[in-house]
């Protein structure tokens, strides 16, 4: 039986959810918050959905999507193009390679994984910037940036879990 147009549209939209939700957080990450001293330690917001989807739906959140999200981040934040593409790609790969361990393990294990990925992401960001400008970048904000990203995981990651549930939800009438 061929799926109807509506069903195909529905399926397409559902598979776009991981990418779109990540894009939303990439955009939110560059919105100015006008808070004092917040700038340097602002969290790498897009890293949370990238991590979540790399673990749970790597078929929908692909390498190329992580790359593209990084590119959008760089373009908007004024960073050299490619820096966050590289950072997100490597973080994605790290999460992807551990997905068998992380998937379905419960929230706290996932949260612990986020800490490691955030530390990796922030460290990589520092390294890439330092190499790009050929001088050592300040290290003071790094720990806070990683911790803040991790601290936001219950909020953003929790939202991702809800979105994931909604994505899998099927009305009773469609199941036959």
């Amino acid at each position: 039986m061929n799926p109807s147009l509506l069903q195909r549209l529905d399926r397409g939209l559902r598979s776009a959810v991981p990418g779109l939700s990540t894009l939303v957080f990439a955009l939110l990450g560059v919105v100015p918050l006008h808070l004092p001293v917040f700038g340097p330690i602002s969290p790498l917001l897009a890293l949370i959905p990238i991590y979540y989807w790399a673990v749970h739906r790597p078929d929908l959140m692909t390498f190329s999507l992580a790359f593209a999200i990084g590119l959008v981040h760089d373009a908007l934040a004024g960073a050299p193009l490619g820096v966050h593409s590289l950072v997100y790609l490597l973080c994605y790969w790290a999460a992807f390679s551990q997905r068998r361990f992380l998937a379905g393990k419960g929230f706290f294990v996932l949260w612990w994984g986020m800490l490691l990925i955030a530390a990796l992401g922030v460290g990589l960001e520092w390294l890439v910037f330092s190499v790009f400008y050929a001088r050592l970048m300040p290290v003071e904000p790094l720990a806070f940036r990683a911790l803040l990203t991790t601290a936001l995981f219950p909020l953003v990651g929790g939202l991702m879990i809800q979105i994931h549930r909604l994505m899998l939800f099927q009305p009773r009438s469609w199941r036959a």
Binding site: L27, P32, V72, G82, L89, R145
Partner: protein, 325 residues
């Protein structure tokens, strides 16, 4: 059946290989892009401008509630010390009124001296008010995106002011958005002048909150608290824009504290400058300035007419200084 299993296994192996290959390819692409950014900034800036232009409606919409929340937080914080703040402002206002008298007198004197020396006409600043719709969001990039672009007359190189002083420079203008490099960014270099001693220097950003001065002459006289203003050398900026104050030595570097709170900029003014006739007086300039700023396209809300009226009254109240000779 067996053949089918074998082909499935082969397919899986192929898929996994393709997966790894795409990862390596994308890694290379990212590194390549960075190298391109380093070599050919024109192409990259064009791409950046297009992306920023494309998502600017979204950013514009999202930045408003974010700004509102920040304002509310700030308001609540200020409620606690309203009385003290009011007393401080009243004292400051009294002092400023005195300064205004002095400024009017000096301006009149200045105009007459200029007439005597046949001084070349001064520059007039033309302002365009813009909203900040994105910021660098990180420790390694100090830049902003504005909601105005070439369509509004923005050009690369124009100075950007906050409410208190210089914030940065437009480094790239898209059609509807512009990118500003803040004076604290690693790549920022601003020719400046120490206001007291008139010594020239270069203000260099290093991704900390306080940029430092270099190329200061051997015999330069410098003291903590000296005001630093743009020198106008290089023709990039109008001269005399306030930048910051010297706060002291740190690791052998002379640090400058910017006047502007660069981490909470919500609106900025982009400065275009042009020459005008020398009869432009400060009083008339002030009135003209507010109306020009009102006509700017970046912000939909015009200032409250009552404020304009009060300002005009305030200016005329300031006394009639000696007419220009």
């Amino acid at each position: 059946m067996k053949a089918r299993t074998r082909s499935t296994v082969r397919l899986i192996a192929l898929k996994s290989w393709a997966h790894r290959f795409s990862f390596a390819l994308l890694l290379l692409a990212a590194v390549g892009l960075m190298m391109l950014t380093k070599i050919d900034t024109l192409v990259v800036e064009d791409v950046r401008a297009r992306v920023t232009d494309a998502v600017s409606p979204v950013l514009n919409a999202v930045s408003r509630p974010a700004a509102t929340v920040a304002t509310v937080v700030e308001d609540v914080r200020q409620l606690s010390d309203l009385r003290a703040e009011n007393a401080r402002l009243e004292a400051e206002n009294r002092a400023l009124l005195q300064y205004q008298e002095i400024a009017f007198r000096l301006e009149a004197e200045n105009l007459s001296l200029r007439a005597l020396t046949n001084y070349r006409p001064d520059y007039r600043h033309r302002f365009l008010t813009a909203r900040v719709i994105a910021d660098g969001a990180g420790a390694f990039v100090r830049s902003l995106a504005l909601n105005v672009g070439t369509a509004d007359g923005i050009e690369s190189g124009q100075a950007v002011l906050g409410g208190n002083g210089l914030a940065g420079r437009v480094v790239q203008a898209g059609e509807r958005t512009a990118r500003v490099l803040l004076i604290t960014d690693f790549n920022a270099r601003i020719p400046v002048l120490l206001e007291r001693s008139r010594d020239r220097a270069m203000l260099v950003g290093d991704n900390t909150d306080r940029p430092h001065l270099t190329y200061l002459g051997e015999e330069a006289s410098i003291a903590v608290g000296d005001r630093v203003v743009t020198s106008g050398h290089g023709g990039m900026f109008p001269p005399g824009l306030p930048v910051g104050t010297v706060v002291g030595l740190d690791d052998g570097l002379i640090r400058v504290q910017p006047f502007e709170h660069l981490d909470r900029l919500e609106f900025v003014r982009v400065v275009g400058f042009e020459t005008v006739d020398e009869t432009a007086s400060m009083q008339r300039g002030l009135g003209g300035l507010s109306f020009e700023a009102m006509g700017a396209v970046g912000v939909e809300q015009a200032p409250d007419p009552a404020v304009i009226e009060a300002l005009t009254r305030f200016i005329s109240f300031g006394g009639t200084p000696a007419a220009a000779p």
